[in-house]
Every structure is written in C-alpha cells, then in structure tokens.
Symmetry: C2
Subunit: 406 residues, 2 copies
C-alpha cells in the first residue's frame, strides 16, 4: 500500500478538470469540477442524514439506483438547496455533462456546495461545459484542478491516492475532498469523490463504502452541524484488470484497506483544515466495552466546544475531556478513565482512574502548542477502540461564520 | 402573579448571605453563599445527567432522600469534582453549616462550581462560617449577596421573585441562578436555588420541579456541554400558611405558574448572559406534531454553532435554521416550514414552505442588531409548541475558554 500522486486521476481511465465558470464572484477561484471515467463504472455513495437534502442528492440517488456511473459534476459557491427549481437544475447539469462528454445522463453524479436558498443559474455552467470537457486530462494536473474547484473556504485542496496489488494486478484508489466553509459561507458541506480502477461489483463497493464511512467520515466533526449536501461517492471502473470482487475475501480486504488508507488521510486533512482551525485534534479511545462505545466517546470529546476552545489556548484542561465522556451517552466507569495528551513534543498524562495526577504545566503547554494533538483516552472496560477527528474552536471560526453575508 | 424584589429572601422565613472566604483569588468576588429557612422545608431537586457527577451532588442527593432540607451552602471557584476526597469535603461543608447555623446535617443542600480536579480546601470555608451565619439576613441585601457569591464569569447576579395568592394566603417564590463560565473556567455549571413559603408536600414539589425543568432549564444551552455539577433545588417552608398542596388541582396549578414564571425568567437571564454572549436567542417553535418534537427542533436551532455565529454577525442566514431543523432528529415536513426573525425592531419573514422568500437585507440587519432575538419556526404539522433559549457564539466565548489556565 504506497502513497502516490494523482488524486482522482491516479486510477487508470479517469480524467478530471476544474475551472472558474462564474458561480463564484472571485474569478481566481475555480467553481466547477468534472471527473469522467473512460468506461461506465460500478458506483456507490452515502449521503447526509439531514432531512433537508440538497436537490443534487436526490438526482444523484436516482442516477445511482442501478449501481453504475461514469462522471461526477460538482459546483462550489451555491448548494442548490431549498430552491423551488433545484431538482430541475441538477438534472440540467447532468444533461449538459451527458451531451458534451458523451455519457448517459443517468450515469452522472451531481453535487453542489455553497449558500442555501439562492437559485442556481445554469447559464455559466452551460457556457463552460465545452471548455471543461475539452480540458479533461489523465494527469495529476487535471486531478488537482478538480480538487481545487470543489473547495470553498478550505485553505488547501485535498487529494490522496494509493497504489496496491490485487491478484498480481497493480491497482489504484484516490480521492478528493472539500471541508468546511465557503466564500459566502453557509453549510460546512463535506464532499468526497473517490475513483479506483479496481474491478468490484456495485454491491461490494457499496458495502465497502458504507462500512468504511462509519469509522472515517462519520467520525469527523468541525462544528457539529450536519450539512444538507454531504456526499461521498466512489467510482470503480475495473480497468486494473483484476478478477472482479464479488464477495468478501482476501481481495476485498485489500480493497477495504486501500479505501481506508485514503479516507483516513482525507479525514485528517478535512479536520485539520476546519473553518478557522489552527490544530488537528485526534481523539483515540481504547479499552471501551465495544467499538461503538469507543466511537461515541471519541466523537463526544472532539465535539466539545469547551475542549476545542481549550485546545486553541493550548490549555491541558482535562476536566473537559472527562465532562464530554460523561455526557456522551456511552456507559463507562468513570473511575477507570485515564487521559493523556500527545504530540510531536511528547506525551503528558493528566488523569488516572478518573482523578487528576500532577503534571508539568510547562511540558503540557509545549505539547499542546503543536498543530496536531492526540487526546488519548483509556477506558479500562474492554477491547473496543475508535478514533475521531476534529479541530480547535478559534476566533476565526466565529469570524468566518458571523461576518460574511453583510 | 406579580414580580417582586428579594430573590431567595422574598419568601417568608428565608435568610441568606454571601461573602468572600478565599477560594477565589480575586478578593472582591464573593465565593461562599448560604441560604437558611427558619423551619425545615419540603425540598426537591434535579441534577445533571452527566455520568461524571460532582461530589456535592452525591451528598445532596443523600440528604434530600427524605424530602426535607433547611439550608443551602454553595461555593464558587472550585467544583469539588474528580477529587479523591470530594465526598468527604462536601460532607464537611454540611457539618460546618449544621454546627454553626443549628440545622441538621442531613437537611443541608451542598453545591460547588468551578475548576474540576483540584482538591477543595475546607479551611477557608471553616474559618468563614461564623461570619457567614452571623450575616444572614431576611432582606433583599442578603439575597443579593448569595446571588453574587454563586456566580463565576456571569456578568450579572441573577435573581427573580414573584408574589401570588393560594387560598387567600399571600405566597412568594423566588430564585437565584448562576450561568456559564468561571474565573478559572472549566464547566458551564448551572446552579439554581429556589425558595418559597408555599406549603406543599415534598412529593408534589418534586413533581412540580421535574415537570417544569423539562420546559425551562432543559431548554437552555450556552455551548452544548452538560456540566458535571448542574443542580436545581427548591425549598418550600410552608410559612405562607396556605392549606398544604398534596395533590393536583387549582392550588397546584397556581404554584406551577409561579414556579414557571420565575424559572422562565431565570432561563432568559442565564442564556442572555452566556459566556461571551452579546445576544439572547429565543427559538419559538409552533405547529409541531407534538410538544416533544417542538422541543427537539427548538433546542437544535439554538445549539447550532453556525446559527449562533450568524446571529453574532446579525446575518439573516435562515438556511442554517433549516439545516438545524433537518438534523434535529424530529420528524418534520420540510416543505411546510416557515421561518421569521423578530426583535424590538420588527419581524422579517425569511422562509415560507421550506423555500426562501425575498426580504429586505437592510430591515433584517436592523432587526438582528438588537440584543434579544426571537427565531420563529412554524412547522405546519400540528399543535405542539416549545421555546428554547440560547445565545450567540462570539470571539469572547473562545477567549474566555481558551485563554485562561496559562
């Protein structure tokens, strides 16, 4: 399993492109991305659980009903959500891709991210489509352009890819992601598009994705607000030439590992680049009665506004970790909890068996001033483990989300 | 039902006092409060649901097992939580009150608020007890001193009292509360102490309190972090001379109304004075399928970090209201939701039937620049109603909680 360049173009037979078409006012920011596979691909997706769902999700869900897709179109700058004509516009986007890129309209994944409740004008998308399709490329520049076109207030484009072997065939799997915030911010929509040349049935692809997101994207929180447009979609075009994966087994395990390697890295990138964030927080829970309990505890800790603020201030305020564990809803024995903070500068134990231990505030400060902090929680109840990813709460989070619309 | 002065001393036969004993470093901040009834009172309480519970809660719970109390002792500056000797210290506090004020040790309610995991020294409390008891007074100055001694980073002391009649007898009910933050901040502990001279059985008092908190204190959120020390306690000493309330009926209804009048006002004071807050947010949900659904929706809206940030920026970003309704977990029909913002400057409708309506951004800004904002949500699903109270998310919230310990 080795990391490689190329993002969504690392896998054979995928081309990508991104450009500025005019949805966003800032002309140096790309706002339209397209990914196309040379051949129809097995496809799987997971969507937001928010009852308010962006129109693109409804259209994508319909298109993916048969487990096949060949292209992904995504705009930033407008979520196309809570608009009377949203579904119509999302269908129109698919039709434009179908016409110009020569794929079936039902094989297009559509996604949008941006402000809610403002009609999305199809005109700039229609005008840009020929150029967008003409510029599709198989190399890392195309992948990069697509990665750049889906981000909003993200400070960096996010792409990861790996190379691995299944049955002697060289395979690839790569993804791009956008995190929290927009230039005209509204929802911290998370979008992830993953491509692979592995040959795998749509059913097994969906199984792999649905299993993986529980331990990866569902364990990320920037601000506790579940967007209306969250979408993670995977396209597997089979061009690696491996024997099709149609059941569990060694090949499926390798595929799951490749998928997880990419998704964990994307989670870290998303959390570390949360709106206003200065630090990546990684809460690692061990010794839980079950892995679900471990996940509940880990997520509660990284969602605590008080702990997030303390991390911004590099304050080893471990009482907030215990508090968040206590209200998480998981059944834990408070008197067996150990807590430590760890970073590149070392580890400091702050709580043993539910009570404070003496520690050097100076050493703790040095550790917490780093920009990647691990919060290590040991519950002493069993063998369940989980990791959750978050970020600190900063002045800039408030600024980004309070100062924009006026 | 008329508002009167006097806080916890408005009811007959209650004396109170507060002073600085030395738990807090800042000598101008009081840190020890005492409330004493002339006679043993029926008592009821509700506590945090956090699995990590402050030692004082365990002791109070034991003392209130028989439904009788005569005094409340409360310190600020230290939560006496996650300390090996916490229960012992809380018992010791009760014993000191019993000795010096002449009440039974089992009739003392004990509470603490402040930093977690630092042993609480009994010495300053022991030394101050004679002076604290000697200074107990029946007038509003005593009540005020107690109200001041339980607050931490609250910017104002919080007290409310009402006068009403039951069976021709003049009755009183008053309360004090502390909200979020500490001078050495850790948990946004909420403490509320209510006194009344109404004669009511402990069982009916507990019933009244448990019913009321569902619609009042449980509908307040400053930052989503449930403290380890939250406590609401009511003492009813019966000195008003009414026929004892031992069952539901007209008298109980009047008592419930008096209680609710005081608790709603305390909720508004708590939310409006949340850490760093510049605005009180009041989300009023109507037309829900049930009142539980209404409560779920209202609380989800006032807990959204994105909406709280938008309110700080006076931004009519209603998509965030819909988003928070959508992920609340309540079953609602998105296409029937109406949303409006209201303040002393007027009302602006921003969403009808789940989609945006045109509105004046200028008028919306004027409305949202006020410091008390109502978010009106109409669901169109039934007759369920609920109100939740919160505050905006500001730079100062981050500052208060990130900058302190070092």
């Amino acid at each position: 399993m080795k990391l490689v360049e190329g993002g969504v173009c690392a896998a054979k037979g995928f081309r990508a492109n991104g450009l500025h078409c005019g949805i966003r006012k800032n002309k140096i920011k790309k706002d339209l991305a397209l990914i196309v596979s040379d051949v129809p691909a097995a496809a799987a997706a997971v969507y937001t659980t928010n009852l308010v769902k962006g129109a693109p999700l409804l259209v994508t869900k319909k298109h993916l009903a048969n487990g096949v897709a060949q292209a992904v179109i995504c705009n930033s700058g407008n979520a196309n959500t809570c608009n009377a004509n949203g579904v119509e516009i999302a269908e129109h986007m698919s039709e434009l891709v179908a016409e110009v890129a020569g794929v079936k309209v039902d094989d297009v994944v559509v996604a949008s991210t941006g402000v809610i409740g403002q009609p999305l004008d199809i005109t700039p998308i229609r005008k840009a489509m020929p150029q967008l399709v003409a510029g599709l490329s198989y190399d890392h520049l195309g992948a990069r352009a697509a990665a750049e076109a889906i981000i909003t207030t993200d400070t960096v484009a996010k792409e990861v890819a790996v190379e691995f072997e299944i049955g002697g065939k060289v395979c690839h799997l790569g993804g791009i992601a956008k995190g929290s915030g927009m230039i005209h911010p509204n929802m911290a929509t998370m979008l992830v598009f993953i491509t692979t040349d592995v040959k795998i049935s749509a059913a097994m692809l969906q199984k792999a994705l649905s299993t993986d997101v529980q331990k990866t994207f569902n364990m990320v929180s920037i601000d506790g607000d579940t967007s209306t447009n969250d979408t993670v979609a995977v396209l597997a075009n089979g061009l690696a030439g491996n024997d099709e994966i149609v059941a569990e087994g060694a090949d499926f395990e390798i595929f799951m590992k490749a998928l997880n390697t990419v998704t964990v890295q994307l989670c870290r990138l998303l959390a570390g680049d949360g709106e206003g964030a200065t630090k990546l927080l990684e809460c690692k829970v061990t010794g839980a009665a079950c892995s679900k309990c471990a996940g509940t505890v880990a997520k509660s800790v990284i969602c605590s506004s008080l702990l997030k603020s303390a991390m911004f201030g590099a304050d080893a305020n471990w009482g907030r970790v215990l508090c968040a564990i206590g209200y998480s809803g998981a059944a834990v024995d408070i008197d067996r909890i150990d807590v430590a903070f760890r970073s590149a500068k070392g580890t400091v134990e702050v709580c043993k068996n539910g009570a404070g231990v003496e520690f050097s505030e100076e050493k703790a400060k040095e550790i917490l001033l780093e920009n990647e902090i691990e919060i290590l929680v040991s519950l002493g109840d069993g063998a369940g483990e989980a990791t959750a990813w978050g970020c600190d709460l900063t002045y800039d989070y408030v600024k980004i989300n309070g100062d924009y619309r006026t």
